[in-house]
């Protein structure tokens, strides 16, 4: 009994410390996951913690569970609109891209480490998938927003390439163990079954889960749990039937997150928390599992392997996969660089250990080291490289209090709360002409601890709390009025988008006449929308795309679907 209490105390202390660590690290931009990994290593057999943990079976169980939950949450928070620009490139990267990365790194490993070529490929497959979730938590914690094309591509890729890497790992292991040489056919059949079942069960399961949840009447606290249990059931059923459970649960999350669902706000918050818990737990556990002194002997080989992976294999894979989509080179460089490796490779490295393969512990140590290097170097430089490559856009969403109002049969409304600061636009300019978006109504103004009687916008003071009900579509507008812009100067609207706003359907000829732009006459009859898409070679423009002309820049400012509605006109200074 005493032991039980001690365990509870230690576990809770470690968890608490890890959560507090996340507050500190986000200020320094240190990849959080690295911190958890180190805490785990400190607690482990060779650190002051001295905990002996080498149960691969248990690690595999919890690792897979955590991974499933993280993927589910990833699906839940990915909006379908990101698919417009991200789906096709991401699917290419997640399938062909993983194959190319696996091939290059695998064959290199076979040659360098003197392994059988299939064993080399196995090592390549294990490190084949990216963990962009880590990147995004890093960027968001620093208040940066990426251009949608890059962001969506990386996010969808990271969600959908894990199943591919897992699949390759399992198949290669089976082939190595059975000694079969009939690679092509086995690979193909297995691929069709795993991905087919995964996609089928994921989508159908997700739809079914939404219907079920929307029909159930239960206490609000149970909805998130029901959704999680449902998601894990989909994972379990698919895996038991030899399909890709990871693909299934990711797709199920996507479906559930994008369909009208009751209590969806609670469900998403709960899963955000539980996914973080899973990440913390998984990395702590993996830190515990590794024996740090065994990393040293493989360090040099692992470092070279990591270099080949990040500097050669990943950039080549990205370049080839993005070729048909004509990404601007800056975006290609960024996608190539942000091939961050996370927990998935470490979990996959457990498979050979479980199967008792000869070289298993060497694989594990190399992979562990590669992940460490990747988290450290790529994780740390991601914000910097986004900035250097000019892939940030002015942030559109601010962190404010928001409560979604669940009114059955009504359109969606949200209750938003703002705490006004000294430099909030309404307070600074004190003009009586501020107008709320049509859908918005002031509900209450709190000053000190009292409700203010008047609801007059001209009468607001710093430190007031302002509560409004509004359509979610108008939130950006409200943010503009009530949130002091925290964006750095280079991301203010005027600096980023330029001085003037042009209509997407304005004619190029009229623009050229107004500013004496030297543009070919063949472009004159085009609309700005068509002109920009033509010259950027893209059918799917995103906010922040920039067409540089001699004296002005045209910056895509607002889009609807694939149509450019507003274009920023930025005058180049200093001629």
């Amino acid at each position: 009994m005493d032991l039980t209490n001690q365990i509870i105390l230690v576990v809770s202390l470690v968890l608490f410390a890890s959560i507090l660590a996340s507050v500190v690290t986000s200020r320094f931009g240190v990849p959080l996951l690295l911190v958890f990994l180190f805490i785990g290593m400190l607690l482990g057999e060779e650190g002051p913690g001295g905990i002996q943990f080498d149960d691969v079976q248990v690690a595999h169980l919890f690792g897979s569970l955590a991974l499933a939950i993280i993927l589910f949450d990833g699906g839940l928070v990915t909006p379908f609109r990101n698919f417009r620009v991200g789906l096709k490139p991401a699917v290419g990267l997640a399938t062909v891209g993983v194959l190319i990365t696996t091939g290059i790194t695998g064959l290199f490993a076979a040659w360098w480490l003197d392994l059988h070529w299939m064993e080399g490929l196995l090592l390549g497959a294990i490190v084949g998938s990216t963990d962009a979730a880590a990147v995004f938590s890093l960027l968001r914690s620093q208040g940066l927003e990426l251009k949608q094309r890059v962001g969506a591509t990386l996010e969808i890729e990271s969600g959908s390439n894990d199943p591919m890497a897992i699949f390759l790992t399992i198949v290669l292991m089976e082939l190595i163990i059975s000694g079969s040489n009939d690679v092509g056919l086995v690979l193909l059949l297995e691929f069709v079954r795993q991905m087919g079942l995964g996609a089928l069960f994921g989508i159908l399961g997700g739809l079914g889960l939404v219907r079920l949840i929307n029909r159930l009447e239960m206490s609000p606290g149970l909805y998130p749990l029901a959704v999680m249990a449902g998601g894990l059931c989909i994972f379990g059923i698919t895996s038991v039937l030899q399909g890709s459970g990871f693909l299934a649960i990711y797709l199920a999350g996507l479906v559930v997150g994008n369909r009208p669902l009751q209590s969806s706000q609670y469900i998403k918050r709960f899963h955000d928390g539980i996914a973080r818990l899973s990440q913390i737990g998984m990395f702590l556990m993996l830190g515990l599992l590794v024996t740090p002194s065994e990393l040293l002997p493989v360090a040099l080989n692992a470092l070279i392997f990591a270099a080949v992976l990040t500097l050669i294999a990943r950039p080549i894979a990205v370049w080839l996969c993005l070729l048909p989509f004509r990404f601007p080179w800056r975006e290609q460089v960024f996608v190539g660089w942000v091939g961050l490796r996370g927990a998935v490779p470490i979990i996959l490295a457990l498979f050979p250990l479980l199967a008792g393969m000869d070289q298993a512990s060497m694989y594990f140590n190399i992979v562990f080291f590669v992940v460490l290097v990747s988290l450290l170097i790529q994780g740390w430089t991601v914000a910097y490289s986004a900035r250097r490559l000019g892939l940030e856009v002015p942030p559109t969403s601010h962190q404010v209090q928001r409560v979604e109002l669940d009114i059955p049969g009504q359109r969606e409304l949200e209750l938003v709360g703002y705490r006004l600061a000294k430099d909030t636009p309404v307070v600074v300019e004190r003009r009586d002409m501020f107008r709320l978006p049509r859908s918005a109504r002031v509900v209450a103004v709190l000053r000190g601890k009292h409700l203010v009687d008047t609801l007059d916008l001209a009468d607001l003071k710093p430190d007031d709390y302002l509560y409004l009900i509004a359509d979610p579509a108008d939130l950006a507008e409200l943010d503009r009025l009530f949130v002091a812009s925290a964006a750095p100067e280079r991301l203010s609207d005027q600096v980023f988008f330029g001085e003037f706003v042009l209509n997407g359907e304005a004619r190029v000829g009229d623009l050229a006449a107004a500013y004496a732009l030297d543009l070919p006459a063949s472009d004159h009859p085009l609309t700005l929308d068509a002109f920009i898409r033509l010259h950027l070679h893209t059918a799917h423009p995103v906010v922040g795309d920039r067409l540089q002309l001699k004296t002005v820049d045209l910056v895509v400012r607002k889009i609807e679907g694939d149509r450019i509605l507003k274009v920023g006109l930025k005058l180049k200074r200093g001629g």
Binding site: F434, Q494, L502, N503, A506, Y515, A516
Partner: protein, 149 residues
């Protein structure tokens, strides 16, 4: 940065009662054409309106910077209007406009045109500048503010 000939008190309107974007542009066109031998209000208004069709020249925060290239002028010409109430100007941030600076440039002066626009836009992006222009009680005060750098 603003040359002495660019704007003078006669081309500044303060505390005007204006209720529409069209009226605002007309007022600015009147001020610009008033003392100029070759300009007519209709012509200037037409040209400013033409530019608005490309997209509103509202800069945000209640300021507008309508402008046009026009062959009848040989030097850049500016006019300024401050209105008592905001005018719906279809600006990017949907805020009504109560400060408007209109600029006419000769057809030949392309580089100068862009430089001047960029300069004015950056001036008007300072909250303090806007606040002082709104508080100004006479055309002289506005002129001093515009000329200060």
């Amino acid at each position: 940065m603003l040359s002495p000939d660019l704007i003078n008190e006669a081309r500044i309107g303060r505390g005007l009662e204006i209720s529409s974007k069209k009226r605002l542009l007309e007022t600015l066109a009147e001020l610009l054409a008033k003392d100029h031998p070759r300009l007519s209000t209709e012509n200037v208004f037409e040209r400013l309106l033409e530019r608005e069709r490309l997209g509103s020249t509202g800069l945000g925060h209640g300021v507008a910077l309508p402008h046009a290239r026009i062959k009848e002028v040989s030097q850049v010409l500016g006019a300024f209007v401050q209105t008592t109430r905001g005018v719906d100007y279809d600006a990017a941030d949907d805020e009504p406009v109560d400060l408007a600076f209109a600029l006419l440039v000769p057809e030949t002066a392309t580089e100068e045109h862009l430089q001047l626009l960029a300069y004015l836009a950056s001036r008007f992006s300072e909250p303090a500048t806007r606040a002082r222009l709104r508080e100004a009680t006479s055309p002289t005060a506005i002129l001093d503010l515009l000329k200060a750098t």
